[in-house]
Structures are given as structure tokens and as C-alpha cells.
């Protein structure tokens, strides 16, 4: 099918030279973030901010309407015993479940993110991916999380990867587009940087690390490289792009380190759910337990926090 409606390679950045990223240096910078000690008021503030940034996720082959309803219930009622909690940013589900989510979340200010484009592998034709996207948008998704074609990327077919993102973005209309790079399949940090630049130039509103379906999922290392790509793109064009690490962030302490990294790389403007998300499921309860511990001084048990 023709992509001639879209000005395809107008903004394709020069990817003939792979940008240089030094892995050892990245590891050292990450280690500095991890040695920050976030205590007291700054810890409570961070934990609440993290809650507000969570895309509460279920993406299983075995998902059903019942499962998704439970997830949405949890999104609405994180932990009623604690008042003044922020709500999560979004739920994230498969396109077939978007309708259920929309009904359950009616009247609540929680986004509905849907994966699309033959998630997680992305191994399908463009027309299938477009249909997948349109179905999710029509069902009520306010955000689309697409996957790039990693095979094409690794084979050097950057124009194809670029064109696909442009086409999906067009199919999204006003719906926000997150582009999943699947960093665990890209090999080195150089390639993560390259894929980030490509996705942003193709029109991504957010770049996202992973599908969460393979190991490794999100790491602080790939996230740092992506945040630096976002920063350089912002300097060059003035356009802000958001960031979503997804998968493997189940502990509040780790999420706080991500916030430190975000703050020291991009600064205050990105420190909101509008520009940063955590793709997670069990993270929410760990954050709640930490908040409760801060409030009471007592270490918590998982028995007291609902598992949905």
C-alpha cells in the first residue's frame, strides 16, 4: 500500500553513522544516580509522583473482561485507607480490552493506553498494524503504545521503520503515540540512541523502552541514553518528547532512582505524568507500602494491600 500521503523521508535523520555512547561511562553515571539518598519529605513527594506516573498494565494472553475490570478497579481505588493519594496516569491493555476499560473507568480522569501494531513482536504487515491501531483508537484508547519493527531496524532498513511510525502516527490522529523500541533486542546503547532519534524524528510523542515480554526490559542504562536523546532533540527542535520505561520496575526504591535520573537529566519540566510514565503492575503496591511506612514508621506486609 502506498504511503505517498505522508511526506515520508523529509525528516529522517542521518543514521549512516551510529551515534557514540560509551557503556562504561553510562554505567558510572547510573551508579551515581543509585547512590542518591532520598529521604523524608522528598521521599514522600517522590512516591506520590511515581504513583501519578504509573500506567497500570495487564498484557497477557489470558486477559479477560473480568481481569481488566479488576485492574481498572485497582486504578480507581489504589488504597482507600490512605486519602489524598494521586490516581495513576493510565491503564494499559490490549486493543480488545479497551472497550471494557472505557466502561469501567467512565467518569474517572485516567487515561486508557492500548498497545497496538501486532504487539509485542511487531512482525506483521503494515495494513494489519494500521487496523490494529484504528480499532484501539475507535474503541476509546487515549494513548497508543506501538512497537517498532526491530528486524527491519537491525537489518539497516531505517526508512521502513521510520515510515511505519509516520503512518501509525497518522492513524492515531489526536491520540498520543508512544513508540516502543524494545531496547532488550537492540544490542548496544549506540543502537538505542539511534532508534530513539529515529522515533522522535518520525513523530513519537513518547519513546518507550520495552514491551515487558522479554528480558532485559527497562534498565536505568537504556533509559539514561533515551533521556539524553530526548534532551538533544529538544535542544535542536524545541519539541518535548515524553519517556516511558516499562517492565522490571517493581520496587519503589528503583522507581525513585529513575526519578533522580529524570530530574538530573531533563530537569523539572519533565517531572509530570504528562511527560514521564512507568509501565508497571506490582510497582503500585510497593509504593503504597513505602508511603504507609513513611507515615507510620512501621515496615509493611503485602497482606494489607489489594492485589488485583
Amino acid at each position: 500500500m502506498s504511503l505517498s500521503a505522508v511526506p515520508v523521508t523529509a525528516n529522517l535523520p542521518d543514521l549512516s553513522r551510529v551515534p557514540v555512547v560509551d557503556e562504561v561511562g553510562v554505567n558510572e553515571r547510573v551508579a551515581r544516580f543509585q547512590s542518591r539518598s532520598i529521604k523524608a519529605d522528598s521521599k514522600v513527594e517522590a512516591l506520590k509522583l511515581i504513583l501519578s506516573m504509573i500506567d497500570l498494565t495487564t498484557l497477557e494472553g489470558q486477559d479477560t473482561a473480568g481481569k481488566v475490570r479488576q485492574l481498572c478497579q485497582k486504578a480507581i481505588h489504589l488504597h482507600d485507607a490512605m486519602p489524598d493519594l494521586p490516581h495513576v496516569a493510565a491503564v494499559c491493555v490490549y486493543p480488545t480490552m479497551v472497550g471494557i476499560a472505557k466502561d469501567t473507568l467512565k467518569g474517572h480522569d485516567i487515561n486508557i493506553a492500548s498497545v497496538a501494531t501486532a504487539f509485542p513482536s511487531g512482525q506483521a504487515s503494515l495494513s494489519v498494524k494500521l487496523d490494529d491501531t484504528r480499532m484501539a483508537v475507535d474503541a476509546g484508547a487515549t494513548e497508543i503504545d506501538m512497537v517498532i519493527s526491530r528486524g527491519a531496524f537491525l537489518a539497516g532498513n531505517y526508512a521502513l521503520v521510520f515510515d511505519e511510525i509516520v503512518a501509525i502516527k497518522e492513524a492515531c490522529g489526536d491520540t498520543h503515540l508512544k513508540v516502543i523500541l524494545e531496547t532488550g533486542e537492540l544490542g548496544t546503547l549506540d543502537r538505542v540512541r539511534q532508534a530513539s532519534d529515529l522515533a522522535m524524528h518520525a513523530g513519537a510523542d513518547f519513546i518507550k523502552t520495552s514491551t515487558g515480554k522479554i528480558q532485559p526490559a527497562a534498565t536505568m542504562q537504556v533509559t539514561l541514553v533515551m533521556l539524553q536523546a530526548i534532551r538533544d532533540y529538544y535542544y535542536a527542535t524545541g519539541r518535548m518528547v515524553g519517556m516511558k520505561p516499562a517492565g522490571g520496575i517493581s520496587k519503589a526504591k528503583l522507581a525513585v532512582h529513575y526519578l533522580v535520573m529524570l530530574r538530573e537529566t531533563l530537569g523539572n519540566a519533565w517531572m509530570t505524568p504528562e511527560w514521564f510514565r512507568f509501565g508497571a503492575s506490582s510497582l503500585a503496591n510497593d509504593v503504597l507500602m513505602q508511603l504507609r511506612k513513611q507515615a507510620t514508621g512501621v515496615y509493611q506486609s503485602a497482606d494489607y494491600f489489594s492485589k488485583d
Binding site: 562504561v24 558510572e28 529521604k39 519529605d41 534532551r231 538530573e264 523539572n268
Partner: protein
């Protein structure tokens, strides 16, 4: 990359709350005597001096002021201990030194806290770098004690005798380990003087040495200032002098030793060039700049205090550096989030501030980060100078503070020429993705330690020391044994 009007803002919104290291478990005596002959003994003339916390200007302790008579006592104790110590089975000497290493590891948090209190460096640095490295040095050299015959083909080795060692205030405990560990491993005995502003961790080390059961007199630790040091250097029964400090004092020491038979090693100042090529991993190179000049308050002899950046990426590098500087936290050394601690003394702060004035007077453009600093104590924000060249004093002189002089270059040869255009030759840094260029650069720079795509990395196995006016001799590694041995034909 276009330089943005789009700015990043780092200083509002979420801030880090204070995260103080708890110090209720540490023990600092109100008064310390001199450690001579295995005991803490009062100085002969009964004089003491204070050591203060440069972050609060509060007194921490009084320590003995060693007079010439005390120096003499210490050297005599070291001499008396030398015979039996050098005649011990080498493996047994090694086991004593292993004990010091292990005990340092066990008491590491206390040592780290005291190092930060006494000297001003952030607890994160003393906890994560200084003290672990110090323990590692003892561990490394302990293992050489009974293996010296493998380090010098064709030579048999003997210890020198009594070593007089004078160390600086920028890495007090680490410098003590760099001096004591190899000296003992090679069968020598030691008289060590810590810097007058940072005596405490050396005195705590004396406690470790006593608790580890080392024979009395093998290590003697005497506190004092310049006069004490001079008395050590000039003492006729010292066989070897080891000094780390400024080039000016190094000159005086070398002159004093002329005509004597004393062996000496000197580890002096530096003004290292940190060179960034256009094909470097820029973000990691910026971190390398920060590592090279801002951590430890720039109180580092091998600091990357001159940045040479290839002109085509200069604007990008400087912008990213300024962004990074805005995220550096200057403050209480005992706060776990502090990146840059207190300047070690009012004298050093005055020196730094005079250079800030000189730099501006000479036409340089100065930029400092905007972070808050506490009211009490000695502080300097991270600072850069642009618009300066080889002729500027801030480019030539060692400032020993968190102050970076930035110049651009166009070609490889120009970078080499500028890097070498200095009387110093301690260290250098090179940032490029191209391997061949790294090795050509390392061949060309006249410095004793060159970091490629990294900076300020130290390891007990890695020799360290300078060319030219940065000193003579090497510390660390196999090469570091040389300083403490007499090599004889077999």
C-alpha cells in the same frame, strides 16, 4: 547541534531532603598524642594544635605537635624495630599487613565519616572510594611481601631501612595507605606525618595498627606541620623520604636531600589536559570532565583542570557541562547527596578565590553554578573559565579547587602541543571513539597517567606518578615496589 533558547531548568520542583550520615557510632578523641614505638605518647614539648571541621569551622580535636625531639624519638623507634621486622619471614610480614586491610574493611564506615568530618570531602566519596581503595592498597601490597623476587629479574632485593613519609590533605587515608603498605611489604619501617589539617584518620589508623598487633615501632605516626616535616626530611637516620604535596615543597625537599644518600620519591602537582575530540561519546565525556575537576572539590593533583575541546563540538560540550554543573550539590560533607564538599581550609579557599579574581582580571569569562551554599564553612561553587588561553595564569597554575579552564583546539597536533605545554606532567585524559587515535595520543602526551575515555580512575595494581615537575617515582602496582627496595646483583 543548535544551541538552544530552549532551556532546561533544574532548580525548582522536587528537591532532595537532607540525608545525613549517622555518626553516633564513631569515636573521635578530644585529644590525640603521637603514636611512637607502639604507644600513644605525649609530645616532648607538650604542644598541641587543633584540627577543625571545614564545613562548620568547629574544632574536632587537639593533636600533638611533634617537635624535632619527637621526630628523633620516632625515627629511633623505627630503627629499633627495623632489624627484627626485616628479619621476619616475609610471609609473616604479609600476614600483618593483611590484618590491617581486613580491619580497615571492618571499621570502614567510621573511617569514612571521620575523613569527611576532618577534611571536608563528601561522605559518598570517602565511603565509596577513599576507604575501600585504602583497604585494597593494603590488601594488594600484603601479597607482595613474600614474592619480591618475581618483581625484579636478575636482582636480589633488600629493604632500605627507615622511611620518612609526608602526605597531603586531599586524600588523607588513601595517601597513608599508598605510603605505608608498600614500605612495610618491602621490609621497611615507617615514620609518617599526615597533613596538619587532616590528622585524624592517620591517628585512627595508628589504633588499627596497634590492634592488629604489629610489633611496636614498625609504624610511627606523628602529627605536625611544615617544621615537623622538615625535621623528618633532614633526620640523618632516615634512609628514604616519600613526599606527596605541592611542587614548591617538593623542590625544597629535593634540595635538602642533595649530597645525602637518601632515596626519595616525590609526587607533586599537576595541570592535566582533558582532551575531547568531536568523535567522542559526548555525554560520557562531559561526565568525565565533571569527574576530573569537580569531585573532591578539585583537590586532586591529577585533576583534569584544563579542558581542551575540539572546536566543532565546543558549544555542545560547554552547554551540557553547564547543565550538569547545575545538578551538582555543594554542601554538608556528611549529607549523602553532597557532590562537592567543603574546601579544606581557609587558606586554600583564599588561594582559589584569588585565582577567580585573576582569571576575570585577565579577561576570562567565568561561569559558576547557581546552587546554594551553607553560611558557615569554606565553599566554592563549581566554576569554569572560557575565553582563556595558554598565556592565562588560570591555565598555567595549579589552582587546586573546582575551577576548570576551557580552551578549544582544531587538530590532533595542536591538542598534543597544548597538552604538553606545561612544566607539569602528572596526568591527562583523551576522549574519542577511535582506538588508533587513543594510542597515538597516549604515545604523545608526556604524563605519567593517561586516561582514555575515563578519568580519575585508581587501583592498587596501577602505577601512578608524574613526569617533569610532577615528580619522580611511581606508586602502586609492581612498579611501586621500586621505591622501597635496594636492588643488588645476584
Amino acid at each position: 547541534m543548535a544551541i538552544p533558547d530552549n532551556k532546561l531548568a533544574f532548580n525548582d520542583g522536587w528537591q532532595y531532603s537532607p540525608a545525613p550520615e549517622s555518626i553516633d557510632h564513631i569515636k573521635v578523641n578530644k585529644k590525640y598524642e603521637l603514636f611512637i614505638g607502639g604507644d600513644f605518647v605525649a609530645p616532648v614539648e607538650g604542644k598541641y594544635f587543633d584540627t577543625i571541621n571545614p564545613a562548620t569551622e568547629e574544632k574536632l580535636s587537639s593533636v600533638g605537635l611533634a617537635s624535632t625531639a619527637d621526630v628523633d624519638k620516632a625515627v629511633k623507634a623505627a630503627r629499633k624495630a627495623f632489624g627484627p621486622w626485616s628479619r621476619l619471614k616475609a610471609a609473616e610480614r604479609g600476614k600483618y599487613i593483611y590484618r590491617i586491610a581486613r580491619m580497615l574493611q571492618e571499621r570502614s564506615r567510621e573511617f569514612a565519616a571521620i575523613e569527611s568530618l576532618d577534611g571536608g570531602k563528601p561522605i559518598r566519596e570517602s565511603r565509596d572510594v577513599d576507604i575501600p581503595l585504602a583497604a585494597a592498597h593494603f590488601f594488594y601490597y600484603a601479597g607482595w611481601a613474600d614474592k619480591l623476587e618475581y618483581a625484579f629479574p636478575g636482582r636480589s632485593v633488600r629493604p632500605l631501612g627507615v622511611a620518612g613519609q609526608i602526605i597531603p590533605w586531599n586524600f588523607p587515608m588513601l595517601m597513608a595507605s599508598w605510603k605505608i603498605a608498600p614500605a612495610l611489604a618491602c621490609g621497611n619501617t615507617v615514620v609518617l606525618k599526615p597533613a596538619e589539617t587532616t590528622p585524624l584518620t592517620a591517628l585512627k589508623l595508628a589504633e588499627v595498627i596497634a590492634d592488629a598487633g604489629l610489633p611496636p615501632g614498625v609504624v610511627n605516626i606523628i602529627t605536625g606541620a611544615g617544621d615537623t616535616g622538615a625535621a623528618m626530611v633532614n633526620h640523618p637516620d632516615v634512609d628514604k623520604v616519600a613526599f606527596t604535596g605541592s611542587t614548591d615543597v617538593g623542590r625544597i625537599i629535593q634540595k635538602s636531600l642533595a649530597g645525602t644518600n637518601k632515596k626519595y620519591t616525590l609526587e607533586l602537582g599537576g595541570k592535566a589536559a582533558n582532551i575531547i575530540f568531536a568523535d567522542a561519546a559526548i555525554d560520557q565525556a562531559v561526565e568525565g570532565i565533571v569527574n576530573g575537576i569537580f569531585f573532591n572539590q578539585g583537590h586532586v593533583c591529577c585533576a583534569g583542570s584544563r579542558l581542551l575541546v575540539q572546536e566543532s563540538v565546543a558549544d555542545e560540550v560547554v552547554q551540557k557541562l553547564k547543565d550538569r554543573m547545575e545538578t551538582l550539590i555543594v554542601g554538608d560533607p556528611l549529607d549523602k547527596n553532597t557532590d562537592i564538599g567543603a574546601i579544606n581550609s581557609p587558606e586554600q579557599l583564599a588561594t582559589i578565590e584569588s585565582y577567580l579574581a585573576i582569571g576575570q582580571d585577565e579577561g576570562g569569562e567565568m561561569f559558576q553554578s547557581s546552587c546554594p551554599v551553607p553560611d558557615q564553612g569554606y565553599w566554592c561553587r563549581p566554576t569554569i573559565f572560557t575565553g582563556v588561553s595558554q598565556s592565562n595564569r588560570v591555565v598555567q597554575d595549579e589552582i587546586f579547587g573546582p575551577v576548570l579552564a576551557i580552551q578549544t583546539f582544531r587538530t590532533f597536533d595542536e591538542a598534543v602541543s597544548k597538552a604538553n605545554n606545561t612544566p607539569y606532567g602528572l596526568s591527562g585524559g583523551i576522549w574519542t571513539d577511535k582506538g588508533a587515535k587513543i594510542f597515538k595520543m597516549t604515545q604523545s602526551i608526556r604524563a605519567g597517567v593517561i586516561w582514555a575515555n575515563t578519568f580519575n580512575k585508581f587501583d592498587p595494581t596501577s602505577p601512578f606518578g608524574g613526569y617533569k615537575e610532577s615528580g619522580v617515582g611511581r606508586e602502586g602496582g609492581l612498579h611501586g615496589l621500586d621505591a622501597y627496595l635496594k636492588l643488588e646483583a645476584q
